[in-house]
């Protein structure tokens, strides 16, 4: 499906170091979470056998018009079926086997490949599916939509991470201005197919054995809390999708500029954007994508970060 | 009685009751066979006996003490050979497979190595020690599973369909192994569809039907009882069938060729 398996030689020492630190950190966290379980034959058997079946599933050729075929990754599928922790362990095993036995993905790039496919793809798939099912109920239409979105967004964000890793790496001939739009654009298109495959597979599984889907483990509680949250979420999503009309189209029509930008121009202050430019999402844009699309993606990311902080905070408060 | 399995009720999650008050026993130096139709619960019963499945009701006793209380150490006294060798083999090489249990019991590498080679010699798998088990033929895999279990000398041997998919020569080898185990004072329990094999090796036979057990009597009496055999979905062994067709009745009720030869040599003498 994708060019996601970064080979050796694509990443420099710094990026390898950072991704490996993330791998060990996250891996250590997951191992602590499942430590007691991982010491049991049940967990060992399930994770290892699942990894083998996902590996085999990845080898299937999915024909596409044009006479070619593609393979799917299955990270979102693993996250939905097994949950974030076992899903991570399973995909991590798959990637380790692919790296060690087939050299599909480099040893030095293992940290990055795991980050993209075993962490980002798995977590995104799991969170989206679980959120949808919890809020909208475990119906086939919801499952299909949630699985599709989980599969699509998981791969797209994984592709974005891959673009950042190779773009920021001095070993790779191109910078993020090239790598991020190429990877995001390419994976956003291919992600549609990953999403379809994930949705079809989840529908098949939920018809045969719904009790095996980790992300549906808790009963859907249709309490007022979730109805309110559902309304708020829908409203927020609508606002995000119509925001470019105001922030880009209307703003361009009336020639809107930020007041601080105008003040800086009047005062003749130097423009340091070229120097202090650490983020690829400058001014709510994504390099290489139309301004409107970048605006929406930036909105989703921003809301995601805020919601993430909120959920982490509430969980922390509950624990104490 | 070395192993007693009493009044077992078992149901798989979300499924129907598979075992409904099943009981059997096996003592040192005897071979007990459990026969029954497909889906009657033979495999489940052996797994309960090996304490791999927890029954809803009932108890498994090893030397009159609950087996559950003696785990996991008591596992070294019980050896279960699965019906499908592929389900049982999970090590990278045949050597590792045979050594898996030994490495937990022996601290010396040399001792482990010696015992592995001994077992390999006994079960004729010496040339396959460095090979991955899943690359072997079904007969060789069966030998590996037996070697991996018998290497640590369990007191109780539970064999689930040990002759399935094997050639007649391999079946004869399995029969020898079972009889040797019995002669070495082990309690051997065999679940099987193979009436000839059961006739050749067992001392007592139980019939499992619809989750409960009947019989427990001598192999001769059970394997000549057509109503019991019908419950097990089995035909009588070839020898009594042939004798019945020929209208010959012998006092000894021979079940096997050996029995028949013994009976006819007694008759001629």
């Amino acid at each position: 499906m994708v060019v996601m398996h970064i080979p050796d030689g694509f990443l420099d020492v710094a990026v390898v170091g950072i991704t490996y630190i993330l791998l060990f950190g996250y891996g250590g966290y997951v191992l602590r979470k499942v430590r007691l379980a991982l010491d049991t034959p049940e967990c060992i058997s399930l994770v290892s056998v699942m990894a083998a079946s996902i590996f085999a599933a990845q080898m299937l050729n999915w024909p596409v018009p044009g006479g070619t075929s593609l393979h799917f990754v299955g990270g979102a599928l693993a996250g939905i079926v097994l949950g974030p922790w076992l899903g991570f362990l399973t995909l991590f095993l798959v990637l380790l086997v692919q790296t060690l036995v087939f050299h599909d993905g480099g040893i030095t790039a293992l940290g990055a490949n795991v980050l993209n496919m075993a962490i980002i793809d798995v977590i995104v798939g799991y969170l989206i599916y679980r959120a949808f099912v919890k809020i909208f109920g475990a119906k086939d239409s919801v499952r299909a939509t949630a699985a599709f979105l989980g599969g699509w967004l998981g791969i797209t964000l994984a592709g974005a991470a891959c673009g950042l890793e190779i773009g920021y790496s001095s070993s790779f001939p191109y910078g993020i201005a090239v790598t991020v739009p190429v990877m995001v654009g390419w994976h956003a298109i291919l992600g549609i197919l990953e999403g379809v495959i994930t949705a079809l597979t989840i529908l098949h599984l939920t018809r045969r054995a719904p009790q095996l889907i980790f992300s549906e483990a808790d009963e859907m509680i249709s309490s007022k809390k979730y109805l309110t949250f559902r309304k708020a979420l829908i409203t927020t999503l609508i606002l995000i999708f119509i925001s470019p009309f105001f922030g880009v189209i209307l703003a361009d029509m009336i020639g809107y500029h930020e007041p601080l930008d105008i003040a800086a121009e009047v005062l003749n202050l130097p423009d340091l954007t070229g120097i202090i430019n650490w983020t690829p999402f400058l001014d709510y844009t994504v390099p290489g994508l139309p301004a409107e699309v970048g605006y929406i993606i930036a909105g989703i990311l921003g809301i995601g970060v805020i919601l993430g902080i909120y959920l982490a905070y509430t969980r922390l408060v509950k624990q104490h | 009685m070395l192993l007693k399995v009493e009044n077992i009720y078992f149901r798989y999650p979300g499924g129907e009751e598979v075992l409904k008050g099943a009981s059997f026993s096996a003592d040192k130096g005897e071979v007990v066979a459990i026969i029954g139709p497909n889906g009657s619960g033979k495999t489940t019963l052996l797994m309960v006996a090996a304490a791999l499945l927890e029954p809803e009701r009932g108890i498994v006793l090893l030397e009159d003490r609950p087996l559950r209380e003696q785990l996991p150490e008591a596992r070294k006294r019980i050896g279960l050979v699965f019906q499908e060798p592929d389900d049982q083999l999970f090590n990278p090489t045949v050597y590792d497979e045979v050594a898996f249990a030994l490495r937990q019991l022996l601290s010396s590498v040399e001792e482990t190595d010696r015992k592995v080679k001994e077992a390999a010699e006994k079960f004729n798998i010496k040339s396959s020690l460095s090979k991955p088990p899943y690359k072997l033929s079904i007969g060789e895999k069966r030998m590996v599973t037996l070697a991996s279990v018998l290497a640590y000398d369990p007191d109780v041997l539970l064999l689930d369909e040990p002759t399935a998919n094997l050639s007649s020569k391999s079946i004869q080898e399995i029969e020898k192994i079972v009889l040797n185990a019995r002669d070495a004072d082990r309690a051997v329990v065999v679940a099987s569809h193979d009436v000839e094999f059961v006739a050749n090796v067992s001392d007592r036979v139980y019939v499992i039907s619809d989750g409960s057990m009947l019989g427990g009597l001598s192999a001769k009496s059970v394997l000549s009882d057509e109503s019991l055999l019908a419950l097990a979905d089995m035909n009588p062994p070839l020898v009594p069938q042939t004798l019945r067709l020929l209208g010959i009745k012998l006092d000894d009720n021979p079940l096997t060729i050996n029995d028949l030869m013994r009976a006819s040599s007694l008759a001629t003498s």
Binding site: M50, S171 | Y152
Partner: protein
């Protein structure tokens, strides 16, 4: 799928698994792969590539399989880096005219492309040469010697063992479904069928995992007895030679600024 299953099977034992101590071999493989992957000079990559060729030839490993992997990596790296000579600023080496488009090939760009390709290919070459010599079983054993968590080495072993089994199952499932297709099928029908294969593979893995758990438990005499480590292999003269060579190459790389 069958071919891939056969490939995994054949990679289990390697051509000369007992040649090196597995831990020393894994350490050397990791160091040499890392050195190649981070090198900026063509000479170091070429040296490491030469070492991999010597290893493959001396051990009589199947050169075709090794070469196939390298060809794929070479093609991929070349395709990725084709624009580099044209977009990198520097002293012009050549000019290319494509109709009205003038393309300048710079020396620095060409160097960057060659260095990139040599780095990627050398790293792939050295690691795959070790895998083909040792086999994955010894590689995993070597990782165990590096104090990798025992759970992880067991997980790796079990996964790799089950991969060919699932590949064959997937192949059989596909054949079974194909055998019952009596009319011309559209893409969406094929995709639906493939999705059922994926779903059924996952379902079968639950069943197989259940049986595997019973198999492990039946021969585990303590609560974590099944995690027992296999004893370490001896270190011989060949291992010391290999490790010394590895350290020399690493030193050359570090001293030469990689």
């Amino acid at each position: 799928m069958e071919g891939l299953a056969e490939a995994v099977d054949s990679l289990s034992s390697g051509t000369n698994p007992a040649l090196f101590n597995p831990t020393i071999a894994v350490i050397s493989a990791l160091i040499l792969t890392g050195t190649a992957a981070f090198s900026y000079g063509f000479k170091l990559s070429a040296l490491i590539f030469a070492v991999s060729v010597v290893l493959v030839l001396l051990t009589r490993s199947p050169i075709c399989t090794w070469a196939k992997i390298l060809m794929f990596i070479l093609t991929w790296a070349t395709l990725v880096s084709i624009p580099v000579p044209f977009i990198t600023l520097g002293a012009p080496l050549a000019n290319l005219s494509l109709g009205s488009i003038e393309l300048k090939v710079s020396r620095e760009g060409l160097n960057a492309m060659i260095t990139f390709i040599s780095r990627v290919v050398a790293a792939a070459a050295i690691f795959t040469s070790f895998v083909s010599i040792m086999g994955w079983e010894r590689i995993v054993r070597g990782l165990g010697g590096l104090q990798m968590p025992r759970e992880l080495t067991l997980l790796l072993n079990l996964s790799i063992i089950h991969i060919p089994l699932f590949l064959r199952e997937a192949s059989m499932m596909l054949s079974a479904r194909e055998a019952r297709i009596m009319r011309k099928t559209r893409f969406k029908d094929v995709w639906r069928v493939l999705a059922t294969v994926v779903g059924d593979l996952l379902l079968r893995s639950y069943e197989r995992a259940w049986r595997l758990e019973k198999a492990i438990r039946s021969r585990s005499f303590t609560s974590t007895g099944f995690l027992r480590i296999t004893p370490p292999a001896k270190i011989g003269a060949k291992d010391l030679l290999l490790f010394s060579l590895t350290l020399c190459i690493l030193t050359l790389g570090v001293l030469g600024g990689l």
